[in-house]
């Protein structure tokens, strides 16, 4: 139930993001979800792509610092209260969220939330028990 995410270190310089997406495009790698955390000096680009290993390799070859982390992708109903329900469960179980970001699917019926937990195994356990649907890596890469 863990999904691989790559993170890339970025200096705050113009054109860096375009460069990365260009490199990935050239190798035919598709970006499934992304988020950019930024501070005044640097940024961390987080991506879920359809081919994690290749993306990592090609970015490293181009001189980027790349890390891989495991995240959890949760499906929520695309309607008011969909996310609130999941967050309640997380709060009750006293799970710590490092960060999260969201994207919607084409159908528009469900939204997908990506969570980076402090303790991923405990989090998966709690969410599955609560009947929340988690997407597998294959499902996410194939969206």
């Amino acid at each position: 139930m863990k999904v691989e995410q790559i993170a890339i270190f970025l200096e705050n310089r113009s054109g860096r993001l375009a460069e990365i997406t260009g490199i990935l495009a050239e190798k035919g790698i598709n970006i499934r979800a992304m988020s950019l955390a930024d501070t005044s000096d640097f940024g961390i680009l987080r991506l879920i792509v359809n081919d994690t290993e290749n993306a990592r390799k090609v970015l490293k070859e181009n001189g980027f610092t790349v890390g891989t982390t495991s995240v959890v992708v949760v499906e929520v109903k695309d309607k008011p209260g969909g996310l609130a329900n999941v967050l309640q469960i997380i709060k009750k179980a006293d799970l710590n969220i490092e960060y999260m970001y969201a994207f919607t699917q084409k159908s528009g019926e469900t939204g997908l939330i990506i969570f980076r937990f402090e303790k991923i195994d405990a989090a998966i356990d709690v969410l599955v028990k609560a009947g929340i649907r988690l997407l597998s890596g294959e499902e996410v890469y194939a969206i």
Binding site: Q5, A7, F9, L10, E11, A37, T39, D41, F42, I44, R46, G63, F64, T65, V66, G67, T69, E98, Y99, R116
Partner: protein, 433 residues
Amino acid sequence: MIYNDEYETLPREALEALQLKRLQSQIERIYARVPYYRAKMDEAGVAPGDIKTLADISKLPFTTKEDLRKNYPFGLFTVPLERVVRIHASSGTTGQPTVVGYTKRDIAIWAELMARCLTAAGATQKDIIHNAYGYGLFTGGLGAHYGAENLGATVIPVSGGNTKRQIMLMRDFRSTVLLCTPSYALNLAEAMVDMGIDPKEMALKVGVFGAEPWSENMREEIEKQLGIKAIDIYGLSEIIGPGVAVECVEEQKGLHIMEDHFLPEIVHPETFEPLPLGEKGELVFTTLTKEAFPLIRYRTKDFSRLITAPCSCARTFYRMEKITGRSDDMLIIRGVNVFPSQIEHVLISIEGVEPHYQIIVQREGNLDTMEVQVEVSDSIFSDEVKTLEGLTKKIQNEIKDLLGVSCKVKLVEPKSIQRSEGKAKRVIDKRKI
């Protein structure tokens, strides 16, 4: 192993007697032949006959880089140019180039001193020596080259630059000894990994590194990354070039000064009074045997202290403590003295931080600001902002603790700091003063 058993293990008493004899004849010669020195000595009220003991050297005036500039290019030579067989010169980035000359005998002595250094590092005639010091006006390349030949080793005169080709040659020739600047050694290690070559598969066993100050942590890093022993060598072109002092592989603790050819002193960095043995101050050298370009009490601007304790390698020459800073490299940030090697020390002591860094100094209003740029390697990178911010804070705090000056730490992308192909450019000073 010792190259010249007779001189390198001379009992102190005999060594000091030899030094005095050589000093007296050197001073007599200089006084007789160089009007500039004669005038300076006359002005100080000292004649060659006043030098009766080694301690009397303190009666003689100092020589500084400024004196060399005033006599540019050949004014301080003590032999006619027809007896000079080679000229070297400093790059002159801080002013006029400093020009030095050698007679045939000077070159022969230099080659021996450099051979002594390579032997002290554990090299023998069986070694294949990869010499990546720059060849040319810089004394590093040719100085090391002649020493390696004198030793009878196989020398590869590869000079600086073209790192990939260097690595290929080093691998194919099975080179065993690496000569270059410490910053270039790290650059080579990194480039090997980029080329998919495990540095430990090389035949290298030892490196003799000099021409820029480097920290103990940097030594550990080089030894770990290249799987070799890293030996520090000291020299400056004014005195002769590389080969003035070297660490022995037995101890790697302090550099034995070739005292039969150079007389060291440590003086107070501000009053210039001689300091008692063992105290730290500015290193001063007098050459004892140089023919073409002898120097009296030359102020090196390097800080060190002398170690008089006997060494397990059996050399009787005093050792000088590893140089960690030059007054030339010293930055004054808001009144605090900062040496780049101190910053390096902090960086390397933090797990995972690589020694690729640059210091940017600026003046905003009336305030100096120092920014330390550190490359983000895979081992320190995190997908979480707080981890990276925690790291910059940690570096900031440790620098503040050590130096007492605050700085900004900026994380930069890998390889964005220019790699050294000789002396590393650690500081960019943008202050307009």
